[in-house]
């Protein structure tokens, strides 16, 4: 593909100012993969804020009013929307790859901690509004994908829109490696309540006292986790590492005994893939959503209820049989090693090839 014939692709992103996480990695990963494949790709971002209601509506409206059919350089051949409310953009060749919906209006609608929209009249109006707008924006796309089966099922359930799951690799794909099977269980991710990282700490009293947990990541739950470790008398077995640079993170994965990842109804979850690419077994819960698309009980993972004693028992199993942990990690690796950006790019660019 020479420069003159390069197709132009806009990757649409709604960013939450001063917050960076999996969504940003996802968008960057897609953009880089498109460029590697010879496309001219650009991330187009607008800030997103969902409260008060007028801000939510403004965000949807801003995307609707954007003209991304062309730029000064010429026509934009494809627009890929990944996240609410970028779906709303009008483009004759729009692909939607749903990474994030506005979950407050969907599966979190009953949860007071998430806004509890279904609990008030205005909230119900917001739910109806968001659903209607999402149905319009996603429904008019030429192709609809979801970043996991879990997200696809949610889209079908709440919006009645069919989509194909399309998996993508984590950002450091190609650099994960296998090291020792040490004495620590690893947790990676933003420290917020939905990730339920407290389960790792709560599990420690129920397992071999030689087992430690290392928790990589920052977030609003940091202080609460520190207090919890002290309260349970396991502070000396818990390492709250905060932000960890990529190279250190790779080391942490490489030398972990296992990775514990017990979020509540995760959309997709890079951590599962990162664990398997590092050939580590995953310890998770029955209600962890997208994680379960890869985690298979006894084969590459132990899956428990959200229960400290059960998770502690899972810690013991891998600690007591490291050879088994190695085999399970290898099994996980076999499952995800072929998840690649190439496949993602092939799918998303079908309409311009």
């Amino acid at each position: 593909m020479n420069l003159l014939s390069k197709k132009r692709i806009a990757v649409l992103h709604a960013l939450v100012p001063f917050v960076s996480g999996g969504a940003e990695l996802h968008v960057k990963g897609l953009r880089d993969a498109l460029v590697r494949r010879g496309y001219e790709a650009e991330v187009v971002s607008l800030p997103f804020k969902w409260y008060p209601r007028k801000s939510l509506e403004d965000s949807y409206l801003m995307w609707r009013m954007l003209d991304l059919t062309a730029c000064e350089a010429g026509p934009i051949d494809l627009a890929i929307a990944l996240k609410v409310p970028t779906f709303m953009v009008k483009h004759p060749n729009k692909a939607v790859w749903v990474m994030h919906q506005f979950r407050q209006a969907y599966d979190w609608r009953d949860d007071p901690a998430k806004g509890g929209l279904d609990l008030t009249e205005e909230g119900r109006q917001i739910i109806a509004e968001v659903t209607r707008m999402d149905n319009l924006g996603i429904g008019e796309a030429r192709a609809v994908y979801a970043n996991s089966r879990n997200v696809a099922a949610r889209l079908q359930k709440y919006n009645g829109i069919a989509s194909a799951p399309l998996y993508h690799p984590p950002s450091l794909v190609g650099r994960y490696r296998i090291g020792e099977y040490g004495d620590y269980i690893l947790s990676v991710g933003r420290l917020d309540a939905a990730k339920r990282i407290d389960l790792l700490i709560r599990a420690l009293p129920y397992c071999d006292s030689h087992i430690r947990v290392k928790i990589a990541g920052r977030g609003p739950e940091m202080t609460a986790l520190q207090k919890l470790a002290v309260e349970l008398g396991v502070a000396d077995r818990v390492d709250l590492l905060g932000f960890v640079p990529d190279d250190d993170l790779l080391d942490l994965y490489a030398n972990a005994l296992a990775v514990c990842y017990p979020p509540l109804d995760e959309d997709y979850g890079y951590v599962t893939l990162e664990a398997f690419l590092s050939q580590k077994p995953v310890l998770t819960c029955h209600d962890s959503g997208g994680v379960l698309e890869f985690a298979r009980e006894g084969e590459n993972a132990f899956i428990t209820d959200f229960d400290a004693a059960q998770m502690g028992a899972a810690f013991d199993k891998v600690y007591a049989n490291k050879a088994m942990a190695r085999d399970m990690g290898a099994s996980g690796y076999g499952l995800v090693k072929d998840i690649s950006w190439d496949n993602v790019v092939d799918e998303l660019t079908k309409t311009i090839r």
Partner: protein, 432 residues
């Protein structure tokens, strides 16, 4: 620019026939106009000036191919517009929408002409979703009154025609908003209903008209025009006149110029109110006499409720004659500035509002003169048929070469409609 102009023409008796027979002459100053009529055109002047075809000739591909645009005039009457709508379905083009509410048309077409209840239900579903379908089903099952009476604008049954159009022309800003709420991205233009004749000297016109009709020069005369059916609010007007006569005396004449709706029993109503010496019913008149009576008036009443979102050709004719006009504060009448027409509310206070408005115009000559001048100025600015012809030409050209662009506020409004962020105008297709 060569356009195909599809409309009823006389001898089909319709306001749209009269409208078109005036407009095509002005359009012909700007473009080549080929007339397509459902029946043989009888107007001699048209026959002499224009290439005229029966509507069915549009099936001729070569003839169609010779046209840059086809414009279809649609109104809420299946006797006049059935074949036009069917041609629109076959050969999409620009639609000039004379009525927003098309439910009468749909009911007459499907339930009357075609005896096709399922077709009616399908259209209700297409236009108004599940809720519209439920209303239509209840009506067909005899469990609910006619939806065009209970939901005159909510259940407008026009979406299919709007969706089939390559562009829409409407006669009022309100209708533009309503169409955009239905299809936000449609190319659309507002061309105000023309005033066929603009008179620079209303006083002389009035004298001449009265002389020709043998009406006294000095007496107060006012009137209502067109088919005198219930929605023209004749009964509340009579109530107001009964009161006016009691309080101010009987030195006035009120003319009802048009065929009265039989069920209204107007002669009895007039008698009951003691207005036999003041109220006169002309019955149907030809256009010339219609205009004479209008020209003879000191002011006119042009009330309408409920409304189907239609615009009023009579109103613009009145304004072009420099007549002060009392209108209902509803539908497209709300588009007119308050210093151009006098607006009365519908509802419980309707007769009282009409009475007050009549008092204003009848008893205060300066007010009467003011509203007359403002009406004429408005008509000259917005309703000049020759200026309108230029607007039509520009719109047809923009549609043809793909350069039509919405104005910024229209684009914003269109997006808000699409997202359903305007209360009552959610584009769900289920507003019934």
């Amino acid at each position: 620019m060569r356009i195909g102009y599809c409309s009823p023409f006389n001898p089909m008796k319709s306001g749209i026939s009269d409208f078109s027979e005036e407009l095509v002459f002005a359009l012909a100053e700007q473009m080549e106009v080929v007339i397509f009529s459902p029946v043989e055109v009888t107007n001699k002047a048209l026959r002499e000036k224009f290439e005229i075809h029966l509507l069915s000739d549009l099936d001729d591909a070569a003839l169609r191919g010779s046209l840059d645009q086809i414009v279809y005039h649609l109104g809420n009457n299946a006797d006049m517009h059935t074949e036009i709508m069917e041609m629109l379905h076959k050969y999409p083009g620009v639609v000039e929408l004379h009525d927003f509410g098309m439910h009468h048309f749909a009911a007459e077409y499907y339930l009357g002409k075609r005896q096709d209840g399922q077709g009616y239900l399908d259209l209700a579903h297409y236009c108004h979703g599940e809720r519209g379908l439920a209303v239509a089903q209840a009506f067909l099952a005899g469990k609910a009154p006619a939806p065009w009476e209970t939901h005159p604008l909510d259940m407008s049954m026009n979406k299919r025609y709007i969706d089939e159009a390559t562009g829409i022309i409407v006669h009022s800003p309100l209708l533009k908003d309503m169409v955009m709420a239905c299809r936000p991205d449609v190319p659309i233009a507002v061309v105000m209903h023309h005033s066929a004749d603009l008179y620079d000297d209303p006083q002389t016109l009035q004298k001449e008209c009265r002389a020709r009709l043998g009406l006294p020069e000095g007496q107060l005369i006012f009137g209502s025009f067109g088919f005198a059916q219930e929605n023209k609010r004749i009964i509340p007007i009579l109530d107001a006149l009964e009161r006016y006569r009691k309080e101010w005396g009987g030195e006035f004449r009120y003319y009802i110029v048009g065929k009265p709706q039989p069920g209204l029993a107007l002669p009895q109503k007039i008698h009951q109110r003691g207005l036999e010496d003041n109220v006169f019913i002309t019955g149907f008149t030809e256009l010339e006499d219609f205009k004479l009576y209008m020209g003879a008036c000191d002011f006119c009443l042009n009330l309408r409720y409920p409304t189907m979102g239609e615009t009023s050709g009579s109103l613009h004719r009145m304004m072009g004659m420099g007549k002060p006009v009392i209108v209902t504060a509803a539908g497209t009448f709300c588009d007119y500035p308050d210093n151009v027409v006098l607006k009365v509310r519908y509802g419980e206070q309707e007769a009282d509002d009409i009475y007050q408005a009549i008092c204003t115009l009848a008893n205060i000559p300066l007010k009467r003169a003011y509203y007359g001048e403002m009406a004429l100025a408005y008509a000259q600015e917005h309703c000049d048929i020759h200026k309108n012809a230029i607007l039509y030409k520009r719109f047809f050209e923009q549609i043809s070469d793909g350069t039509w662009q919405p104005e910024y506020l229209d684009r914003l409004f269109g997006c808000l409609c699409e997202l359903g962020l305007i209360p009552g105008q959610e584009n769900t297709g289920a507003t019934a």
